[in-house]
Subunit: 303 residues, 2 copies
């Protein structure tokens, strides 16, 4: 199959998710052209996803696509941004029938996630080589209102947007493959179909700092602490745990893509798990913990 | 070396090219935040670069970085956009000393190219795996003024921004490696240090269509023709050829990143190589040619 035929196939699989009223020029030109709302800043991020590292080699392609889109846009949710569009660069080894099927399934997965959060996938790139996915994501935020990692103050409450640890439990149990994409267990659902939590933007407006939990609660909290120059005290019984998750999964497991944020406001409707402290470091139930978690250079899937 | 140490090293190598007055939040948060000028549209593109496919496996890392940035931003030059920022996702296998050196050299090359065209590299991503580079690039263009592939009219003149074929001659002669990055032959210079032709934006304002020549003059011209629903007649003696380039290199070789554009205006200061025609297809000196060129799925470097 020729490159242009593959691109046609992708456009077909994307269907309406390739379009939005803010897209002036979409797939098929040198670059996409997107309108920018007056008074808004652009928020941009890029992520890559590799088999055997970020997802199992034999994971269903539609789930790989769904997860990659959600995980990528999650960074924008953590900034309090409104998501608008993404560009997908796919490197894949050959375009025999199984390659074509993979591309088609992958694209449908991307499209499904894009539709769920209301973004357009309006550009991309294809190369031949070992399977690798890179996604750049873009959104808007009110000028100077992006919620950053820096800004947390001692005394601020620490919140998480939802239950943690299910995705890590799925990895721990080695339950990621084989899996049928239409029939997932709760932990597989957590791993493969996370939600970029744009619904939390109303809380982030008054947040002092925020991050998405991709590498584990303790490690991502540590990123906030480093930038905010303070410490944190957590209460383990307040940490919401997802299906099959143990406390270790909730503290150190990544891949949930819930948001972690701090605020001086006492919010009743979000899970409050502790407070920022003047004293540096992280304590859980008064005990110091190491900010270990997912290091992109040190941990690998068994595959 | 840990991920955060590598990121510190990258920030050091980027130096001032990580910053610009339009960057509100740069490297080190979940996403970059960039101000958008009033009345402008955003122009975005993504590209990936793989060893053995887009550059030789043993090419010097600084040249790989330089070329990747220029080749990526070239797509924005072809839209008549002003470049603003880029995000770089690097996948590299391990961070032993040779890996660290590669990352450092690569980043210096990226930084050098970014400085040359006045853009900021304000975000990115690192993963461990087979070497692969993905770059998303972003700029601005006056609302509804982006120059597209569609729009060419029969009778329009066809222009190219500079000499073609040198990069292809370098590939043809198998002269890409080994190479010292400070001592390049003219054809190596063409391959490794192309220019994204933002200096052509004044001509693109009155252009009816445009594209950058990454896959070869004939193939990229064909993209314009397909979208503009017309044909083209070229005169071979008018095609400017670069150092060591033969006509075949100029017609079918890629990698030069000069711009190809059409205009009803008779410009004296740009190389005019032919005209668009009502009759479909491409003719060179009256002879029909096949729109062959670089197909990302069919051609591979010998390596």
């Amino acid at each position: 199959m020729k490159e242009f035929q593959v691109i046609e196939l992708i456009k077909e699989a994307l269907a309406e998710s390739a379009e939005a009223d803010w897209i002036r020029v979409g797939i098929g030109d040198d670059a996409a052209v997107v309108s920018c709302s007056p008074g808004m800043d652009i928020v941009s991020s890029i992520d890559s996803f590799l088999p055997g590292r970020h997802f199992p080699v034999d994971a269903p392609a539609d789930l790989v696509g769904y997860r990659a889109i959600m995980a990528s846009f999650s960074d924008l949710a953590a900034m309090g941004a409104q998501p608008k569009y993404g560009l997908v660069s796919l490197t894949i080894d050959g375009t025999n029938q199984s390659g074509i099927d993979w591309i088609s399934d992958f694209t449908r997965g991307c499209s499904s996630a894009a539709n769920k959060i209301g973004v357009a996938l309006c550009g991309g790139n294809m190369s031949r080589g070992a399977l690798s996915i890179s996604i750049s994501v873009h959104g808007e935020v009110d000028k100077n209102k992006a919620c950053q990692r820096a800004g947390g103050q001692p005394g601020d409450f620490i919140y998480v947007s939802g239950p943690l640890g299910s995705a890590a439990a799925c990895v721990r149990r080695n339950d990621l493959v084989p899996v049928e994409s239409h029939n997932l267990s709760p932990t597989q659902e957590a791993f493969y179909r996370p939600s970029a939590r744009f619904d939390m933007s109303k809380y982030l407006e008054s947040a002092s700092s925020a991050i998405d939990i991709s590498d584990g609660l303790v490690q991502d909290l540590n990123h906030i602490l480093e930038r905010s120059c303070c410490g944190a005290s957590l209460e383990s019984n307040l940490i919401p745990l997802g299906d099959s998750a143990e406390l270790e999964d909730g503290l150190f497991g990544g891949d949930d893509y819930e948001l972690l944020f701090t605020s001086s406001k006492d919010l009743a409707s979000v899970d409050k798990i502790g407070r920022l402290t003047k004293e540096l470091g992280i304590r859980v139930d008064g005990e110091a913990v190491d900010p270990r978690g997912f290091d992109h250079f040190s941990i690998e899937f068994e595959s």
